[in-house]
């Protein structure tokens, strides 16, 4: 399942809900991305993620579906926020459940690499020098490229 939302989410509550009442899941991997108060040595007071409503959801659905095809997942949840966020706030959560830990880890890393490179989000940082749009990073593209074999 995927959710694209402006509001905060509670990582702990999401994980608790994810496994509640289930006895068939052996492994749950999670990744939480949080707003950092520094980037490239500069103070960041807030961050805004712009998205492309409709296209963003469709691409996340497609990514999640691909992960479920590649790995034997019992369940999968992607939550991604947009809008303005403050340091310490969660931006993205990926949860993967599987009978086996390698599948859970790999699917989670795969989804994060995609989210960081392919999902339609654009990042605006607020710094003491003003606002600036963040440029895409080569290292993230490389991280995503390793799944294209």
């Amino acid at each position: 399942m995927i959710r694209v939302q402006a509001g905060l989410f509670d990582v702990g509550a999401e994980i608790a809900r994810f496994t509640a009442g289930r006895t068939d899941i052996g492994a749950v991997a999670s990744f939480t991305g949080l707003v950092r108060d520094r980037h490239n040595g500069e103070t960041v007071s807030a961050m805004t993620l712009e998205h492309y409503p409709g296209m963003t959801e469709a691409e996340l659905e497609r990514i999640e579906s691909e992960a479920r095809t590649r790995w034997p997942l019992d369940d999968c949840l992607v939550i991604h926020r947009y809008g303005r966020m403050l340091p310490g706030e969660p931006i993205v959560l990926v949860l993967t459940a599987s009978a086996h830990r390698a599948a859970a880890f790999e699917a989670c890393a795969f989804l994060m690499d995609w989210l960081k490179t392919k999902a339609p989000f654009w990042k605006l940082e607020e710094t003491p020098e003003g606002e600036r749009w963040v440029e895409a990073r080569g290292s993230d593209d490389e991280a995503a490229a390793r799944w294209e074999s």
């Binding site: 989210l115 392919k118 999902a119 339609p120 989000f121 749009w133 895409a136």
Partner: protein
């Protein structure tokens, strides 16, 4: 046809979206970029660097040789920066 601009491209065009009637000789994304460049010189400047401006037709990523026929919405955006 609706044309949408995302992130800093909005600052280059001065708008988030616009409705356009296209001349008959605007067939591809590349043609559209040329057409829009005449209206928005700072957009033209950005689009001259191939990797900097990406395009989607009806929310599907496309290359610049993609045909516009039947498109309801064309979007231009910089490379995504993720979450």
């Amino acid at each position: 046809m609706r044309v949408r601009y995302f992130a800093w491209l909005k600052q280059r065009t001065g708008c988030a979206e616009e409705e356009l009637d296209l001349p008959a000789d605007v067939l591809t994304v590349a043609d559209l970029i040329g057409h829009l460049g005449a209206r928005h010189p700072r957009f033209a400047e950005a689009a001259a660097g191939r990797g900097v401006v990406r395009c989607a037709i009806d929310q599907q990523h496309v290359e610049r040789d993609a045909l516009l026929a039947g498109a309801r919405e064309v979007a231009f955006f910089p490379p995504v920066t993720g979450g």
